[in-house]
Amino acid sequence: MTTHSHDHDHSHDAIEALDTSNSDTALVADALRLMLIEKGIFSALDIQNQLELMETRSDRNGASMIARAWLDPAYKQAMLKNGTQAALDQGFDTKGTPLVVLENTEDVHNVIVCTLCSCYPVTLLGPSPEWYKSTAYRGRVVRDPRSVLAEFGTEISNAREVRVHDSTADMRYMIMPKRPKGTEVMSEADLAAMITRNGLIGVAEL
């Protein structure tokens, strides 16, 4: 798209698009699926199995990895070196999409995006939210990340670097949020419960 110019509210556009089920497209999608089943490309059961697999992909997977890393320095270092293997060690197979885990520190705050489409570590975070796929997020987080973070209520001090990661090729990214102070006696499960999906993307600090 060329430079966007119009005079109505962008956020209202997005809400309309979500509420309007595009029945023409739904028909096309269903027709395609049914035809492929008829042709024996896959079965209805295959589709059902994939839907069930989808249910197992959620941000609780990523949160469990981070909580373990907070408690286990060796696992943390291994994760920062090889995210794919660290995911496998925790029982999550990213199936040929390599994972890079990026550590938030006192000095650096990381945030991820895919400007070209909407690549995302689905196995560890579940399906991406609609806003992550929006042209508004994809366009501006690489241009003015601090103001985009502010829209999510996240202010990064000017003493810290903001580092954006554009998932342009084969890597997929997940953020390791900073462990909050005062959590020294918390269990791994309680730590994991504190970690949010938005923290794993980097639009929130936790």
Partner: protein
């Protein structure tokens, strides 16, 4: 497979293969980073070329893939954030030259 040409820390320039060589179709170097100089942050491995894979090709010759770090103020002349801010982008070797 193409041999790896760059090491961590090397300065590299992102080429514009669409302008230079008339490459058409599915490319993964966003327009905003073309012509920019950054530093190799890590070597990610070797992967098939998207220009080929997108049209049923085998992606050969596979290319080393690099994460390249750019200073935000190099990317945007009127960058509103901090001087220390950076952006890391994955770029295939055939889109890079030494700088």
């Amino acid at each position: 497979m193409s041999e790896a040409l760059f090491n961590v820390g090397d300065r590299v320039l992102v080429r514009d293969l669409q302008a230079e060589e008339g490459v058409q179709g599915h490319v993964r170097a966003p327009v905003y980073c073309r012509g920019l100089i950054g530093k190799v942050e890590r070597i990610c491995g070797v992967f098939g070329q998207p220009e080929s894979l997108a049209y049923g090709g085998d992606g050969a010759p596979k290319q080393p893939l690099y994460r390249v770090r750019f200073s935000m103020s190099d990317v945007w002349s009127d960058y509103a954030g901090e001087a220390a801010d950076h952006i890391d982008i994955e770029v295939y070797q055939h889109w890079l030259r030494a700088a």
